[in-house]
Amino acid sequence: MNIKTPILEIKNLNVSINDIEILKNLNLTINQGEIHAIMGPNGSGKSTFSKVLAGHPAYKVLDGDVIFRGKSILSLEAEDRSHLGIFLAFQYPIEIPGVSNEDFLRLAYNSKLKAQGKEEIDPIQFLSLIYEKLKTVKMAPTFLSRNVNEGFSGGEKKRNEILQMTLLDPQLSILDETDSGLDIDALKIISNGINTFMKPDKAIILITHYKRLLDYVKPDYIHVMQNGKIIKTGNNQLAEELEQKGYGWLN
């Protein structure tokens, strides 16, 4: 009944770093309104996959294509991809000394407005906007005056990533192990943030090791990545099986 519109199409993607091939013939299509989870053992290429999508300069695309909303993005810089609506929540959010979270968030928000040809907003307008967003991840306003991720606990860093996602309102969000290192309360807050954020015109990729995130954020598909390609795709049932049997049974 409803026609699926692809947001992201990955076609035969081959990627290397320092001449080592990490992704091999990767194929994946993600449609609007879908949540895809990518699971897989350490070193299978999940983080590489997320960074390649975001345009990290360290990775070299050898072959294949990445199509975002109908257009190839391989020639675009990370900055431009961000403006198009691709967001990466980092596995290890970076600490930026000397830069307040407020300035950072405002600059990111205004950069996006500018790229869209819209007028930038002033610090006071921004404050009222960000106060609303802070509530969604249950963070206190004092957190704005702290330096970006500096001295943040693991949970605060991850919440900050979700806050940025909510603020920048991307079409495609890639959440790289956003659940790792979180206690149950923080996991609930973050899952709640993700669920509130998700809309029918968006798509989310969840990279995770654990089934517990998928109990809170229900994916439409679960993929298992191994040796740089997707070796199995299934539904929530697959996560159950993986939890019980590990990755070994797939081989």
Binding site: N18, P57, A58, E79, S82, P97, G98
Partner: protein
């Protein structure tokens, strides 16, 4: 991370930081030069040219003797080829036809030079709230607002003028804060200094204007040996700023200055520097060798001396502005931003010598190194045995941009009185590929990212600069760090 991405990051940063030096022009002007080389007769000649009283000639000769016995210090992290002191011109001055009655009579070529540097000496265009002394090579060209300042009893003039007009003040105070033999370069400066600024703020006066000296090295083979002496009498206050630039030459030029500050009871001196000497080209050729001794003597009760420096230029920077806190309750401060790029080397920091009880000092040093540069903080905090209940706080932060630059911190602390409270904090952070990628992923351009990081990093120091110059400093760093892309 990977070589490939390092390369990309480094090219981006290199593009960003390698802005052309915009003060690199030189002025063609008729000048009077004493031949190259250094010996007693040259010193006699300099003294004679300046028509100096005998005590000063003796001061110079004594310094020269001392200097000959001394050796170039080798304890710093700096690497440079040996300086041939016989191959330097020690006196170079624009030829003046007659004694000038007003600044409007200064050679238009010189006025133009300073105007190009953003310093207007002619009456119509002077900054309204800053008095400027302009020093070109070995001599002062002129000082603005002298008459206005004189109404308050404030003396602000070239030191060569002060030697003529106020010899008793010079005789009494010159060399009292930085003794002739303090170090190799101070001995050299004491022997051959040619000009610089002199300020005297009388008792109870809050100097109504910012005082400022602008130093310009023009002559290719000359050294600049400036000497500044500022005396703030009881209950007086003064804020002073120096700026400096030089043309772009392939050879290194030597700049060895001395600044002495004296603050009496309840007096405050705020001394700010925005140093932008030519720093050499992208392969490390040329640039100023900047060997400077700056020291303040807080001799009075409740006296305060505050140093703020923004060091962006010079091939080599060697300076440790310090305070001798002799007075009870005296205060010393040092705020510094040192930015090095390409092959620049900076070895800079502060000395705080606590002698008076309840004296307090604060050191905030921010080093930014990029390119292949080396940036070291070197500090000395000395609490002497009779200094009771003193307080020192030192903070040294280093920021590395890219992965080929170098940052060091060498804090020396000596405590001989157990009633002191002393804190030292240090941090090193790096802007590498991953930080930049984080910004880019959030849609922030590399220029904006670096601008934000730098201004956040330096904020604590910039707020200490006089308002007019905070902007200049920001502009200076921006000039060096941004704008080439897009």
């Amino acid at each position: 991370m990977s070589n490939q991405s390092n390369k990309i990051l480094n090219t981006n940063i290199t593009k960003l930081v390698n802005q052309p030096y915009k003060y690199g022009f030189s002025t063609n002007i008729e000048k009077e030069i004493i031949e190259k080389g250094l010996n007693e007769s040259i010193i006699h000649l300099i003294s004679q040219k300046k028509n100096e009283p005998n005590f000063l000639l003796n001061f110079r000769l004594k310094a020269y003797k001392k200097w000959k016995q001394m050796k170039c210090p080798d304890w710093s992290q700096l690497k440079f080829s040996e300086i041939d002191y016989q191959n330097i011109i020690y006196y170079s001055a624009p030829k003046l036809k007659k004694k000038l009655k007003s600044l409007d009579e200064v050679d238009p070529e010189l006025l133009k030079t300073f105007e190009k540097l953003g310093i207007s000496l002619t009456e119509q265009k002077q900054l309204t709230n800053v008095a400027v002394d302009a020093v070109f090579d070995s001599v002062s060209i002129g000082t603005t607002f002298q008459e206005e300042l004189a109404e308050y009893g404030v003396i602000f003039c070239a030191i060569s003028e002060a030697i003529q007009d106020y010899p008793e003040l010079i005789k009494k105070y010159l060399g009292t804060v930085v003794p002739i033999g303090d170090n190799y370069y101070s001995a050299l400066n004491s022997a051959v200094f040619t000009d610089g600024s002199f300020c005297y703020i009388p008792k109870g006066i809050k100097c109504p204007l910012e005082l400022s000296t602008y130093f310009r090295i023009n002559e290719k083979e000359s050294g600049q040996f400036e000497r500044t002496l500022i005396i703030a009498d009881e209950n007086s206050t003064v804020s002073y700023l120096e700026g400096c630039t030089a043309p772009q030459y392939d050879d290194n030029q030597l700049h060895a200055a001395i600044v002495e500050l004296i603050a009496f009871d309840n007096a405050t001196i705020k001394y700010s520097t925005v140093q932008n000497w030519y720093s050499g080209n992208s392969i490390g050729k040329g640039g100023i060798y900047n060997f400077v001794t700056k020291r303040g003597l807080s001799i009075g009760v409740n006296s305060k001396i505050s140093w703020t420096q923004v060091e962006t230029g010079s091939a080599i920077t060697w300076k440790y502005p310090g305070c001798i806190l002799a007075g009870t309750n005296s205060q010393g401060e040092f705020y510094s931003v040192a930015l090095t790029n390409q092959y620049q080397q900076a070895d800079t920091g502060s000395k705080m010598i606590h002698i008076g009880s309840n004296s307090r000092s604060r050191i905030v040093s921010k080093g930014i190194s990029t390119g292949k540069s080396k940036n070291s903080y070197r500090g000395f905090v000395n609490i002497t045995n009779k200094a009771f209940n003193t307080r020192n706080y030192s903070q040294c932060d280093s920021l590395l941009i890219g992965n080929q630059s170098n940052a060091n911190t060498f804090p020396f602390i000596s405590v001989q009185n157990l009633t002191t409270k002393l804190e030292h904090e240090a941090s090193t952070s790096k802007i590498g590929e991953e930080q930049i990628f984080y910004f880019l992923q959030r849609g922030i351009s590399i220029e904006k990212a670096i601008e934000l990081i730098i201004s956040g990093f330096c904020q604590e120091v910039f707020t200490e600069l006089p308002l007019e110059f905070a902007e200049e400093a920001d502009r200076l760093l921006s000039l060096k760090l941004e704008g080439s892309i897009g």
